[in-house]
């Protein structure tokens, strides 16, 4: 009975996350602290790294078998991989690599606030040559109906028709947006959060986890400090 911890930022997030996993899997969704919300700038990313590390660093002692990071920005992914032995599956990294199993060039479709982060990750993962484009659409995280959907669809069509994408990665955790877009497009659309759950299950089924060579352990662990920092921010409240 695999226990999967899904860490998501405050805000959006799919309702039916568990629908694709094996029936014996238990998915627990945990939101990062509201005091550390925001994804638009490097300042925000630094805080998000800490928030995700705090949310997941105790996953093993809590009895989780794997951790899924559902936000495309992969905040805290490296930090969690350095302190955990169980698989940590990050949505952005996984979605872009998985896209290349389905086609040869992908685009990332991202709510405007996530644009800079998505561009950064493409370069960091060495996938610039395989990335047809990163396109932003004007929508708040999690929004999906009305004008926001129309804007996402327009951007998605441009990825395919103008940029040459074979596959789209949707850098948003909105309910069913990927399925709605896929219905209107000639290419597959990856919903990264749901993908992380299936990959976590797959890695568990195969006895695989991340390489300690890529993410070495810290010499001195500081879980209490991490916890205290986040608690201090929480006492001050959201920005």
């Amino acid at each position: 009975m695999p226990r999967l911890l899904m860490i998501l930022a405050v805000g959006g997030g799919p309702a039916d996350l568990g629908s694709a996993v094996d029936s014996d899997a238990i998915v627990t969704i945990r939101r990062t602290d509201a005091a550390l919300a925001g994804f638009a700038s490097a300042h925000d990313w630094t805080l998000a790294d800490l928030a995700v590390l705090a949310a997941g660093q105790g996953a093993e002692s809590e009895g989780f078998d794997a951790v899924c990071l559902g936000d495309f920005g992969d905040y805290g992914a490296g930090a969690l991989r350095s302190v955990l032995r169980v698989p940590v599956v990050a949505a952005g990294r996984s979605a872009m690599l998985h896209a290349l199993t389905l086609g040869s060039r992908f685009s990332v479709l991202v709510p405007a606030a996530g644009y800079t982060r998505a561009k950064k990750l493409v370069t960091e993962y060495g996938l610039a040559a395989q990335c047809a484009s990163v396109r932003a659409f004007p929508a708040a995280e999690g929004e999906q109906s009305g004008p926001a959907f129309a804007a996402a669809l327009t951007a998605a069509k441009a990825c395919v028709e103008e940029d040459g994408a074979d596959v789209l990665c949707l850098a948003s955790t909105g309910d069913d947006l990927a399925a709605q877009l896929a219905a209107e497009l000639p290419v597959p659309v990856i919903d990264p959060a749901r993908l992380t759950l299936k990959l976590a299950e797959s890695f568990l089924g195969l006895g695989l986890s991340q390489s300690r060579r890529s993410w070495p352990e810290p010499q001195v662990r500081k879980p209490e400090l991490v916890e205290a920092l986040v608690a201090a921010a929480r006492r001050v409240g959201a920005r």
Partner: protein, 252 residues
């Protein structure tokens, strides 16, 4: 019940087919999925030349071209060469999972650089082809072999004492000398060595055949198949011609 067709890239008897099916025991699978192993009728003797690559592509295409009509929900190709994968993707809408491409991309989910551990150097061209197609040569720490003669029928049976330590030694060189964070077994025919190596290596080692079974399940459940834009359909699939070739090859 989802049904997955596993195409085995050589003709073989029932006993040797069991050695291929044994890969199912290396992975915990979810419920509601069933795998049917089918050997090809057209095949080269082994996969060491471009002639072999063409015959392999034809044989695997012939074996799987009607998979969708036969009611399968996905196809796995039981070779790291990914022979026939692109051709099958162009005619099928159901997911077609090639062990090589998927193993390399999964390796990069688990680490920054991977090495491919082969039985012998004659397989190098299989890996350089996929690395070039993916444009990910810079992520490959090394292609190393243990200098061992493979057998695509009996696999590693009876040679464990000699082969397993030799593979372990080569894998350690991938890690210590070449900087590999993840090792990929260079052939699904090496699966019998996976458990031995996984227990002894300090990095993850991917067993490519079993990986495809899990990824087939993921593809079915997530309703994610390959892109038609990346794999355009032929105007007229040569089903009749391929069937005639299959029957002829089977009779030789």
């Amino acid at each position: 019940m989802a049904r997955v067709l596993v195409i085995v890239p050589f003709p073989m008897d029932a006993e040797n087919l069991e050695k291929r099916k044994a890969q199912l025991r290396s992975v915990k699978l979810g419920e509601g999925i069933d795998f049917e192993f089918r050997p090809v009728r057209i095949a080269p003797a082994n996969y060491v030349s471009q002639q072999d690559a063409v015959l392999a592509d034809i044989g695997i295409l012939e074996a799987g071209i009607a998979a969708q009509e036969e009611g399968f929900d996905a196809v796995c190709i039981d070779t790291v060469s990914d022979s026939g994968m692109s051709a099958l993707r162009s005619v099928l809408d159901i997911p077609v999972i090639g062990a090589g491409r998927h193993a390399m991309l999964a390796a990069l989910m688990l680490g920054e650089k991977f090495s491919i551990l082969a039985m012998w150097d004659r397989w190098r061209h299989l890996y350089t082809k996929t690395l070039a197609e993916l444009g990910l040569a810079h992520k490959c720490a090394s292609l190393r072999s243990a200098g061992l003669q493979p057998n695509n029928q009996s696999l590693l049976a009876g040679k464990e004492d000699e082969f397993f330590p030799a593979l372990h030694k080569a894998a350690m060189r991938c890690i210590e000398e070449d900087g590999a964070d993840v090792i990929i077994l260079g052939s699904t025919t090496m699966h019998e060595a996976h458990a031995y190596l996984a227990e002894r290596l300090p990095v993850p080692i991917i067993n490519p055949g079993p990986l495809t079974y899990r990824l087939a399940d993921a593809a079915i459940k997530l309703k994610l198949s390959h892109s038609r834009v990346a794999y355009p359909a032929p105007q007229a699939p040569a089903l009749t011609q391929l069937r005639a070739m299959g029957e002829r090859a089977a009779a030789i």
